[in-house]
Symmetry: C2
Subunit: 694 residues, 2 copies
């Protein structure tokens, strides 16, 4: 197998994906942008989103320069030529790529929202097409940039550790984008609801509410840019972890060289499958958008399995039995296992958050007896929802490990490619996910610009499908992140073993490892708490501002004077950015402290502990939050007393609690554990040599 | 060191403690039981509590017989004479001892509540004396029964594995008593509040509320019998784990025989210290009950340290340098480390739940802006509260391990005695804790029987102190349980190594161990969810019943007709018992399934995983619950608008959510992880030989 050819495949596949994203983007811009009023509202959202992103990226550039310099200095201590500079450069490149993909996604989202609303005038199918096309810009751009970037770096330097720097850059940006966006969106959402809906009694998305633009901006910065960056980082990290394992086992003579680049090839197969799957996602006359989204995923999944099998068969036929050139079938089975289990986990998430099933219905029903019971019941189902996802992760781990071993390949490598397999559909998954906030915004614009009732209703139909897609994406992305960090965790151990010259044993009976695990367990809890307290604190400030505006200018509520939207946008932006310091510290500094003080064993345990509680809290918060949200919607649909009933009031509180659970803390936890495991792997060469205990 | 002499010390110490409990019991009964009306109300509570306990114990006897037979059959397979029968017998004996201690505690609590109320007529100090004396009956009985039982068993059979059966019996009973009591008490509490306070607007503890007696019974069965059984089981398990480690290391020639019984001796020193400390707990004229309770704990702690040091010095002087007779100073330092860290953790819990500090105040303040924010803020502080306790556990683990090693003793044994040290003050801790529900009931009786306002106020002063004591006890007992299960976890590994003949490595990189950990992480979540869903389900039933009574008989609300208290008592009792099946299954069957299917390594990981998330959730739930409770009280004291304000309504919801968190799920988790680790250790000889994978 000629390495270069395959890496060029990565470059070409990545480039094609980026190209497709750009073409689709142009395509979306051609749709009708609607009336002046609609365009004005969309303009406010666009301006608010740009303001925040500029502020965010400005902060990030400063942070990246500082960290880049530190990396350059620290890693010049490693005995590889220019290692410090290269790592720093790759880090900056990774951050840039992630930012680029997020920015493009945002850009198209804020253009597509108004166009989707306008297209809804013609019908659900038309609105769906615009929104989904726009979503797929994000999906295509993301996988394209990732695969192109990694292939390029590896083609030039042939050193996976350089790509580790790339991955760290992407993840760090993702962490800040996701956490910052999550704080932003929920600050605005909660403040807008509490004053608007509860205190003054104006509907959601009412233009009289000073926080309404901040709320809509939040959907974009939190759900498009943030969520996209989140999956981007898992995607890159999964590939890097598998490549690291491949190269470590290659160095030990356990696998052929082809396994180092196999993860990139799986990505390319994923890109091709996405090209085939995307055009098939469409809604017929009176079709169901939710079904279309799910069907697209399933079809892409099947296409992927067929293509991957054909690819393995061709390579192996061409290799003619030469083990140095052929691909191990165990790797294929692991890849497919990861993929299938990812899809299954995604759909089980649906059970806990879809109002067709018991958890949402029972929570909605009990809401009539008191708000406390709503919270307890939803929280309890959130706790239960942890089980199926973790069982899936365990099944994927055990299957891929032992199957790979049975085929004579290191079992850990099987876990690595299972993670890549699970993420190989990232293109379509992100497309589905980015669709959500676009239609959410479309609904808002339709309402605010006074479009006819049936248009708003169609936009609402699109929005419901978006919520289900979002729940599935979250279950999927948390599980994928879990498998990825398990692979990264193995890569860390391999790296420590390689640099320290002795096997790293992570025996739970070793008090340092055990202490590491216990300390690691704390981090996701503290991280979630910091993000949520930031939301309540900023929401409190924004609530005061909204009340101030209503009081200072009575014309606002009468609808004769426009509120000052920029104040709320500014509070959300600066509040979110300021709140990122603590979480960033936890993610970067804590692993280094544990590693350099308590040693590599404790750091291994620490990563383990953070994965354990990180996955548990991520699933709990995302699912409980989704459940409360849909419980409220179920009551609003006329069940158990409908809007305005006691049950509804209780369900609204559940939804408010669920907001930062599902959109701030929960999904940021994936990124937290990814960043921590990348920090550990990146610094492994240094920690292996310099540490106080252990 | 003559073993027999020391074991007789255990027998005598235990017996004296039991005797002291009985004398104090008689003493409490001498106090004035008040007016006919007060006695009537106390009589209802007493009857309700007896009904439930009888029902509970009847169920438990059936379960114990079945499990006993299973144990007898299964363990007849182990190559020790009569091992099956002895294990089964010890199991039954352990369950009996735990039941006895719980029953005695309950018995005195339901007598002391009315007497405390009456004594409050004279003053706070008088009321305090009655309540604390009654509480100490529970404390003394518990440690007495435990130490006497274990010493007796060891004196007769000289086999720690038999005591393991005793510990399993005690823990299983504790699990059911705690979980059942927790479901009972919160079912009644929530139902009484939601209909009484919220719907019809009658005050708490109003005799017109049909659930009021069930609520008061709940305080006794949940907080006295349940909490007592919980600490009892940690206490026994800690001693057994340390004894197991001691005997395993003795068999390997790593320690002298004296280390096998040292844990029992530490308990005896603890008993003596408690004898000295208890009489010093008193409140002067206008003194503060909270301060008195804390001071008692601190003094007992100091007495323990002095006595233990003297004991070590005397034994070592007598040994004259003979290592087979002397005690290692490392063991003393570990013991004291455990004790001090236990106390420190207890007091840090206070920070998160006391209204003198930021967490409670900020949560109370933000309640004015919406119920959702109350929940998010309290939950976030609950997440943060995990950190100090876990840091304490890590500090205790690392210190005791490395200090012991530095003194030439196996480090793991140091962790074992640190756990025993932490629990050596169980006598006084349980006394403080049992004081809480007694004064809570006293307040209720004072109100219901129409005692003068200043008497009710005095009872309220006592009650506030009880809440703080409760918070401290919970932090303490969770941490102690964590350290205990870590020691038990080590004992399990030693046992597997011994029976399988090869070292058990719990390497996190082993996919079976890792899968075990991930599976273990699920259990505490599922367990908590089951308990909380049981509460909401039963509360729902009881709410319907209360509404039915109010509707069927209008005279109830007018105060002319007494409601039918027994219906609510029956709903709470049978609901709680039925809900125990699932949790018991999780605790007993899951570890066995993992062990026999995935093997001893996976089971080790499984225990680890359950400890990690178990401790995290226990701390989160207990502390967040305590915080919400005191946040509500802080507002009721007149802050942020006081009773009836929007802030108060939000805080009441927080309290309702916190109820099952802090009194049902949170504190039951200790017992869950203890039972699981005991099941694993008990079945280790079988699992070591028979398992499918690994």
């Amino acid at each position: 197998m000629n390495t270069h050819i395959w890496l060029y495949a990565g470059l070409i596949g990545g480039a094609l994906s980026i190209l497709a994203a750009l073409v689709t983007y142009k395509n979306v811009l051609k749709y009708d942008a609607g009336s002046a009023r609609a365009q004005e509202i969309a303009g406010w959202i666009r301006a608010g989103a740009s303001t925040y992103l500029k502020l965010l990226y400005k902060t990030l550039i400063a942070l990246a320069i500082i960290l880049g310099i530190i990396l350059a200095i620290v890693f010049s201590g490693v005995e590889k030529q220019n290692h410090g500079l290269l790592t720093a450069g790759a880090f900056a490149f990774g951050a840039l790529c992630s930012a680029l993909a997020g920015w493009l996604g945002m850009k198209v989202a804020v253009e597509a929202n108004v166009r989707t609303a306008v297209a809804c005038k013609e019908g659900v199918a038309e609105g769906f097409t615009v929104a989904f096309k726009a979503g797929s810009v994000m999906g295509l751009a993301m996988v394209g940039v990732a695969v192109f970037g990694m292939s390029l770096l590896y083609l030039i330097w042939k050193d996976v550790e350089i790509i580790l720097g790339f991955s760290f850059g992407a993840s760090l940006l993702a962490l800040l984008a996701k956490a910052g966006g999550g704080i932003y969106t929920k600050t605005a959402d909660i403040a807008a609801d509490l004053v608007g809906k509860v205190e003054v009694g104006i509907p959601e998305d009412d233009p009289r509410n000073p926080a309404v633009i901040a709320d809509n901006v939040g959907d974009n910065v939190g759900d498009v840019a943030g969520m996209g960056a989140d999956i981007f980082d898992s995607y890159v990290a999964a590939v890097v972890a598998a490549m690291l394992l491949g190269s470590s086992f290659y160095a030990q003579g356990l696998t052929g060289f082809q396994y180092v680049i196999l993860p990139l090839l799986i990505c390319v197969i994923g890109i091709v499958s996405t090209f085939i799957g995307l055009p098939l996602v469409r809604v017929g006359k009176d079709g169901k958008p939710g079904r279309a989204l799910n069907l697209g995923t399933v079809i892409t999944c099947i296409v992927f399995i067929v293509l991957a099998t054909i690819f393995f068969a061709i390579v192996n036929a061409a290799a003619g039995g030469d083990p140095a050139k052929s691909l191990n079938w165990g790797a294929l089975i692991s890849t497919i296992t990861g993929l299938l289990i990812g899809v299954v986990i995604g759909f089980t998430t649906d059970y806990f958050t879809n109002d067709d099933y018991k958890p949402v219905r029972r929570t909605a029903k009990i809401s009539g007896s008191g708000t406390g019971l709503t919270i307890i019941t939803g929280f309890s189902y959130g706790l239960i929802s942890i089980a199926p996802a973790i069982l899936g992760i365990v099944a994927a781990t055990i299957t891929s490990y032992f199957v790979s071993q049975a085929f004579g390949m290191p079992g850990i490598y099987g876990i690595g490619v299972a993670a890549v397999g699970m993420l190989s559909l990232t293109g379509i998954i992100v497309s589905n996910d980015a669709y959500g906030p676009i239609v959410d915004n479309a609904k808002g614009i339709a309402e605010m610009s006074g479009m006819p009732h049936d248009v708003v209703e169609r936009a609402d139909t699109l929005d419901s499908a978006g919520n289900t897609a979002k729940a599935i994406t979250k279950g999927f992305s948390i599980s994928a992140a879990a498998l990825t960090v398990l692979a990264m965790f193995a890569a860390y151990c391999e790296s420590i073993t390689q640099y320290s010259g002795k096997d790293l044993q992570l025996d739970l009976m070793d008090p340092l490892v055990l202490s590491g695990v216990l300390l690691g367990c704390i981090i996701p809890a503290l991280f979630s708490a910091e993000l949520m307290l930031a939301v309540t604190k900023n929401a409190f400030t924004m609530i005061e501002e909204i009340r101030r505006q209503f009081k200072a200018e009575p014309g606002i509520l009468k609808g004769t004077v426009l509120p000052d939207y920029t104040q709320c946008v500014a509070i959300a932006s600066s509040g979110a950015l300021k709140s990122l310091i603590g979480p960033a510290f936890l993610a970067i500094v804590c692993p280094l402290l544990v590693g350099f003080i308590l040693g590599p064993g404790a750091l291994g345990g620490f990563l383990g502990g953070s994965i354990f509680t990180g996955v548990v809290f991520a699933l709990l918060m995302s699912n409980a939050g989704g459940l409360w949200d849909n419980g409220k919607k179920y009551i609003e649909a006329g069940n158990f007393g409908g809007s305005g009933s006691e049950a509804h009031k209780a369900a609204v509180v559940g939804d408010t609690v669920g907001d930062p659970f599902k959109d701030t803390a929960g999904p940021s936890l994936n990124t937290l554990i990814t960043v921590m495991s990348l920090v550990a792997s990146l610094f492994a060469p240094l920690i292996a040599r310099y540490h106080i205990f252990g």
